[in-house]
């Protein structure tokens, strides 16, 4: 048993938003519950009312929409992992999902839940940041969309207001000449919170980088992009020395802490090593050979 609360089980998104409308921090939505039940048991959250949004049809589904991929906030990690559209248009996200917690939790955890938890180590965050994903937040007052990069604020702090739900994530279909790569350095294969994770998406034309996205987890108070490295890469020929330089810039962009998993210094150094490797892998996928 968990600490006591009232459970509301709305049948539609509107009903759910009505319950959340007052914006009270004591009213919390639950979907897979993989974070929230643990947090309620430990006393981190003590909601009076829990709103079950798991079965809401409005939060489900993965579809193509106006040149974008649209994923419902209530889509589970397991669903992302086995979805053909995700595999085709966002392999960098699929790779992250394959290393997300364990298969058991993947069957319950949702992408929206993973993001609103606000963990710097959220497994889907670097890939979604690298995809330039947009997050859709819905309240009774309406919908708003913002770049995911603006969604994360600090440890356990996001732009979501208590009356809002994550209803969707969207990202653009990849252009020709796009390559991507993801790597999670942990103490174990999947079911360990990462020491460093890196996601890279590159768009290139004849070996020249048109756009670069580098995002990292577990190296700052929030999932971060290495914007200095991204800018540096733009317009450059994709080659070893350039990757080395971008990797070094990435190491400057992160602000890791020391904890039981690793020291700050190690995290910083690994940010560079892994970024370089992911850039190499992604560049190879753009179809360009040095």
């Amino acid at each position: 048993m968990l600490p006591e609360f009232d459970l509301v089980m709305p049948r539609s998104l509107n009903e759910a938003l009505q319950v959340l409308a007052a914006g009270s921090p004591e009213v919390l939505p639950i979907a897979g519950g993989t974070n929230l039940t643990v947090d309620m048991r430990s006393g981190r959250y003590e909601p009076k009312v829990v709103v079950d949004i798991e079965k809401l049809p409005e939060l489900k589904g993965i579809r193509r929409e106006n040149g974008q991929i649209c994923v419902g906030g209530g889509v589970t990690i397991a669903e992302l992992l086995k979805d053909g559209l995700v595999a085709e248009t966002a392999p960098v996200l699929k790779s992250a999902c394959a290393l997300f917690a364990n298969p058991l939790i993947r069957n319950r955890a949702t992408v929206g839940g993973n993001l609103v938890d606000g963990s710097p180590a959220a497994d889907t965050a670097p890939s979604l940041l690298a995809l330039d994903a947009e997050i859709e937040l819905t309240s009774q007052d309406g919908k708003r969309r913002l770049p995911l990069d603006e969604f994360f604020i600090h440890v356990r702090k996001t732009a979501r207001q208590p009356n809002e739900l994550v209803t969707a994530l969207r990202w653009a279909l990849p252009k020709p000449g796009t390559g991507s790569a993801f790597y999670k350095l942990g103490l174990r294969k999947a079911d360990a919170i990462s020491v460093v994770s890196v996601a890279v998406v590159l768009e290139a034309e004849k070996g020249v980088c048109r756009k670069a996205r580098i995002a990292l987890g577990s190296v700052a108070p929030r999932p971060v992009r290495a914007k200095n490295a991204e800018e540096f890469l733009t317009g450059k020929l994709l080659k070893k020395e350039v990757f080395e330089e971008a990797a070094a810039l990435t190491a400057q962009a992160v602000s890791p802490i020391s904890d039981v998993r690793a020291s700050a210094e190690y995290r910083r150094r690994m940010s560079a090593v892994l970024t370089r490797r992911m850039l190499e892998q992604a560049a190879e996928q753009t179809g360009w050979k040095e």
């Binding site: 048993m1 968990l2 600490p3 006591e4 609360f5 009232d6 459970l7 089980m9 639950i30 897979g32 519950g33 993989t34 039940t37 643990v38 309620m40 048991r41 829990v50 079950d52 798991e54 079965k55 397991a78 917690a101 364990n102 298969p103 058991l104 939790i105 069957n107 319950r108 350095l185 103490l187 174990r188 294969k189 999947a190 079911d191 360990a192 919170i193 020491v195 904890d259 039981v260 998993r261 690793a262 020291s263 190690y266 150094r269 690994m270 090593v273 892994l274």
Partner: protein, 975 residues
């Protein structure tokens, strides 16, 4: 609220609370196969299938199951039917403690529903989410593949193994050390296995055993596979209260006062106990023989706390939620004291004194936090060191790790109808618990009954009276049944763990590499209490100084208090610490001397007929001289070495991979030598009685903690009595019914309890012969008992059923029955060899263990399937010890690894390949030639991996675990 869903194919309505998890709701409804393991969805024990997908019920609201289809293991097969997956798991030896078995079986079903022809990789992925601490996953993976074959409708031949030729009329056969022929033990049926068992076919006696040496399925396997109510928590009692424990948030503090009035006033709270409420009786909580080794430095509840997680108060209430709510209402006034966490700081003048209480008994030097010291030596170490041609000195460090049995500590206490206290508990030591708890709760032993049902793993963590006293105090205070269970977090903060050691070895050698002197200086961190400290330390000394022949040896150790959670017994018990240091040290010396590491070891190792000098000066129960009377080490090295393709160590190019320039490959090995039981101290006993149909009841105090001891003890009885195992009904570990046994520890059960069973069965057999002689009008001369029949030399025979009827009902009526006890002054060491193949990523420092091979001489394996399961499981735990597991703290001494997500025990999908071999010898002092097999497998992975890292990179890591950052730093510094 009322939910409607399909449960095990039946439409079901269930009344659940809003805040109830599906786990709680299912268990409350009697679906006991769904187990509690971790509360965070990380162990998988609570898994069920929801709409065909495996999901964790401990982190899901019961209400969310509304409208879904749920399947638990109970729903797989009705009544006595067995589902093919269950059958496959039973036959393939996939079940040890059985606690995670129902979840594994459901995980298998989820896979096989989708995939008829699963690959080994798919099986590994499927079992990935269900953590198992017993098996190392090798047998469960075979179970998955075997089940797939069954479900495809294929004929799957039974597991088989050639009988082991052991002279049935006893007396040792020549203790061969060079068996060669493969026995043909191949788990078959299209099932890929990575394990081979080699038995000893070079023995040529006429008689062969029938039951001993056979891969019998475990006697408790069916109920475990079916998820029946077999564990401590799988029951309720009318009026049962739920207990919860308040623990210290400070590493070191005096409790000025506790105000429990608000907690007591909470409706539903039935008792709140603090140091003010229970008698102050000094004890030591380690489950050990009388009198418990000193120091005695604990009381049930104290007015001082000595680590974050130490006991402060305990509450019993109508529900667990009320009990937990009450904990928040207890007001504790702490005077926070300075704390110390490093043993080398702890012994300095002026360090905080952890045990300043005047009534502690037997602390060596409380002012300097020295719990105990050990000094043991033979020969003249100083002289031999001074005169040695070459000297070496190295220091090694090992970390604190947790046993992590998937079933947490749990007990239920209640008064029976005769006002006797029943303690139903998940323990390795029921008899020690009964004796040790008596003075704490003020009851005589005669009024206490301890029952151990099935237990979900122990590994030493339950060789302890850890929580039984608190539950008993609450039952005494309330008159009601009380259930007390640790949370997974409390398993890390408030249970036991492995002692960290700092070990310095000094060696003196001749120029040609012969050992002349060996000194081992150790500082052992025993945490806040001294429990198991001195005995673990003495075993570390024994293990560190036994393997290599040397007349001049010395062990000099300090056992030191710190303000950390308390280490205790953990499989290996000082062995893994000592052997990490010793086998790294031997490797370093060999490389320095430019000798082959195996050749150098074999030049110095003890062999058949050698005595063990240190055993004359040091022993867990006092020194007892030892001589090696069975020795299969050379064969072990050959077997495991060949299996890992050790020859590659000679090819310098092999270390590099042209495709992956950042990778270095390496091979490493370690020699293993363990003990078997505590000589002169451990005792086990047995009762056997014969029934009307010629079957037998075997009653033993021995404690099966998933290892299969009920099964192998049954096999020893069955072999001796000429019956199949199915004719022996084994009942164990109930202090009212079964005779005394020290319990499951010190690698003793097969050897000691098995010795008692064999003696007992021989006595019964003699009575059977006498009855047969009476019936046939002849003498017992030359009689043979085989196939449930006594045969005389002239060919006449009577069946056991006829004998039973005659003895019970016909003439000179008599219950054929016997009792026997067994102890031993010999502690015959099992030997073995551990090899590791690894890869190092020199940019990140990540070490990936690719393959582990182990071969062990455990004398006669009574059951090769369970014996090899012991090795595989131990190797998996040892791998965690080597590369990932570590209890980590913040600066205030608060543990940071409080859940399986942070504390890394290996899962099926990330295990390297394990190959385990048995190399039988014949141990003259053991039952049917058996020695120990339970612990030796955990001793050697850390040094083998460290030695492999050295081979790969030239980097020598002298502290474990070998984490990526440590390797990266060492590589960085060396550049």
């Amino acid at each position: 609220m009322l939910i409607r869903f399909e449960l095990n194919k039946k439409q079901t309505e269930l009344e659940v609370a809003a805040s109830e998890t599906l786990l709680d709701a299912l268990r409350k409804a009697g679906f006991w196969s769904v187990k509690h393991g971790c509360e965070t969805g990380e162990c998988g024990a609570c898994s069920v299938l929801m709409d065909g997908k495996l999901i964790p019920t401990c982190i899901m609201l019961a209400a969310q199951a509304d409208g879904h289809e749920i399947l638990t293991t109970e729903g797989l097969a009705e009544g006595q039917d067995i589902h093919p997956i269950q059958k496959a798991f039973i036959e393939s030896g996939a079940i040890q403690c059985g606690y995670c078995t129902p979840a594994m079986i459901l995980a298998t079903k989820a896979l096989l529903d989708k995939e008829k022809y699963p690959s080994l990789e798919q099986a590994r992925e499927a079992l990935g989410p269900t953590l198992c601490r017993c098996t190392g996953y090798v047998r469960p993976l075979e179970g998955v593949l075997r089940a797939a074959a069954y479900l495809r409708g294929e004929e799957v031949p039974p597991l088989n193994v050639k009988p082991i030729p052991v002279e049935a009329v006893f007396g040792p056969i020549s203790p061969a050390s060079g068996p060669t022929e493969e026995s043909g033990f191949e788990p078959s049926g299209g099932v890929a296995t990575t394990t081979r068992i080699t038995t000893a076919p070079t023995l040529t006696a006429q008689d062969t055993t029938v039951v001993v040496g056979a891969p019998e399925t475990k006697v408790d396997a069916v109920k475990l596979a079916k998820g029946r109510a077999a564990f401590t928590d799988d029951m309720t009692r009318p009026g049962m209260l739920y207990a919860a424990m308040l623990t210290s948030p400070y590493a070191h503090a005096r409790i000025r006062n506790i105000d429990t009035s608000k907690a007591r006033a909470l409706p539903g709270v039935r008792a709140v106990l603090t140091y003010k409420d229970v008698p102050r009786v000094i004890y030591a909580s380690g489950g050990q023989s009388y009198p418990n080794p000193k120091p005695w430095d604990q009381v049930s509840l104290d007015n001082k706390v000595r680590f974050v997680g130490d006991r402060v108060a305990v509450v019993a209430a109508d529900t667990l939620e009320i009990a937990k709510e009450a904990l928040k209402l207890i007001e504790v006034d702490y005077e926070v004291l300075p704390a110390v966490f490093d043993p080398e700081e702890s012994i300095k003048d002026g360090a905080p004194v952890i045990h300043d209480e005047p009534d502690a008994v037997g602390i060596y030097d409380a002012q300097h936090n020295i719990s105990a010291t050990i000094l043991a030596q033979t020969g003249d170490v100083d002289k031999a060191l001074a005169e040695a041609e070459i000297r070496f000195e190295r220091t090694y460090r090992t970390q604190q790790v947790q046993q992590s049995s998937i079933e947490p500590h749990i007990c239920i206490t209640y008064w029976d109808e005769d006002d006797r206290l029943v303690i139903r508990t998940s323990t390795q030591v029921p008899y020690h618990v009964r004796r040790m708890i008596a003075p704490l709760i003020g009851l005589p032993v005669s009024r206490i009954r301890v029952v151990k049902p099935r237990i979900g793993g122990g590994f030493g963590g339950k060789q302890e009276m850890l929580i039984e006293d608190l539950a008993a105090h609450l039952t005494i205070a309330t008159g009601r049944p009380v259930r007390l269970e640790y949370t997974r977090e409390q398993e890390f903060t408030s249970a036991r763990s492995r002692h960290p050691f700092k070990i310095t070895f000094r060696a003196g050698l001749t120029k040609d590499g012969k050992l002349q002197a060996l000194e081992m200086v150790a500082i052992e961190d025993t945490g806040a209490y001294g429990v198991h400290g001195v005995t673990v330390c003495s075993v570390a000394g024994l293990r560190g100084l036994s393997t290599y022949k040397c007349e001049n040896v010395r062990f000099d150790a300090k056992i030191v208090y710190t303000n950390k959670p308390v280490p205790g017994a953990f499989r290996g018990y000082g062995g893994p610490q000592a052997l990490f240091a010793l086998e790294s040290f031997m490797d370093e010396i060999a490389h320095e001397l430019k000798m082959d590491p195996i050749e150098f070891r074999m030049n110095n190792v003890v062999r058949l007929g050698d005595s063990i000098p240190i055993a004359t000066a040091l022993g867990e129960g006092g020194p007892v001289p030892q001589v090696i009377r069975s020795w299969g080490l050379a064969e072990c090295i050959e077997r495991a070495g060949n299996a890992i393709n050790w020859e590659r160590v000679k090819d310098p190019q092999w270390r590099f991979d042209p495709e992956r320039p950042n990778i270095r490959r390496g091979l490493g090995m370690a020699v293993l030598m363990h003990g078997t039981a505590i000589p002169g101290l451990d005792m086990g006993s047995a009762v056997i009685k014969m029934n009307d149909d010629g079957s037998f009841n075997l009653l033993v105090g021995a404690t099966d903690i998933g290892t299969g001891s009920d099964t192998i003890l049954g096999q020893i009885a069955a072999e001796t009595l000429g019956v199949p195992l199915s004719k022996v009904i084994v009942y164990s570990s109930d202090t009212d019914v079964t005779p005394f046994d020290v319990g499951a520890y010190a690698s003793s059960t097969t050897f000691i309890s098995g010795g008692a069973v064999k003696k007992c069965a021989e006595d019964v057999r003699n009575q059977i012969f006498e009855r047969a002689a009476l019936m046939l009008g002849t003498t017992t001369e030359g009689m043979i008992l085989r196939n449930e029949r006594v045969t005389t030399p002239d060919g006449r025979s009577v069946t056991l059923e006829e004998i039973a009827h005659h003895s019970l009902h016909t003439k000179d009526q008599q219950q054929i029955m016997a009792t026997a006890s067994h102890m031993s002054l010999q502690a015959p060491p099992p030997f073995g060899a551990q090899f590791a193949e690894i890869e190092v990523d020199i940019e990140t420092g990540q070490v990936t263990v690719k393959k582990l091979t182990i071969a062990v001489d455990c004398g006669t394996p009574i059951n090769p399937l369970t014996a090899v399961g012991q090795l595989e499981g131990a190797v998996a735990q040892a791998l965690g010890y080597a590369v990932s597991e570590e209890m980590a703290y913040d600066q205030s001494g608060s543990i940071q690894t409080r859940r399986f997500g942070d504390y890394h025990i290996f899962s099926a999908d990330e295990m390297p390949e394990i190959q385990a071999f048995l190399v039988p010898t014949y141990e003259p002092s053991g039952p049917y030639g058996a020695k120990a097999v339970g612990e030796i497998g955990i001793d050697g992975v850390a040094p083998a991996v460290a030695n492999a890292v050295y081979h790969a990179t030239g980097i020598r890591l002298r502290d474990i675990p070998i984490l990526p950052e440590k390797v990266w730093r060492a590589l960085h510094q060396s550049r």
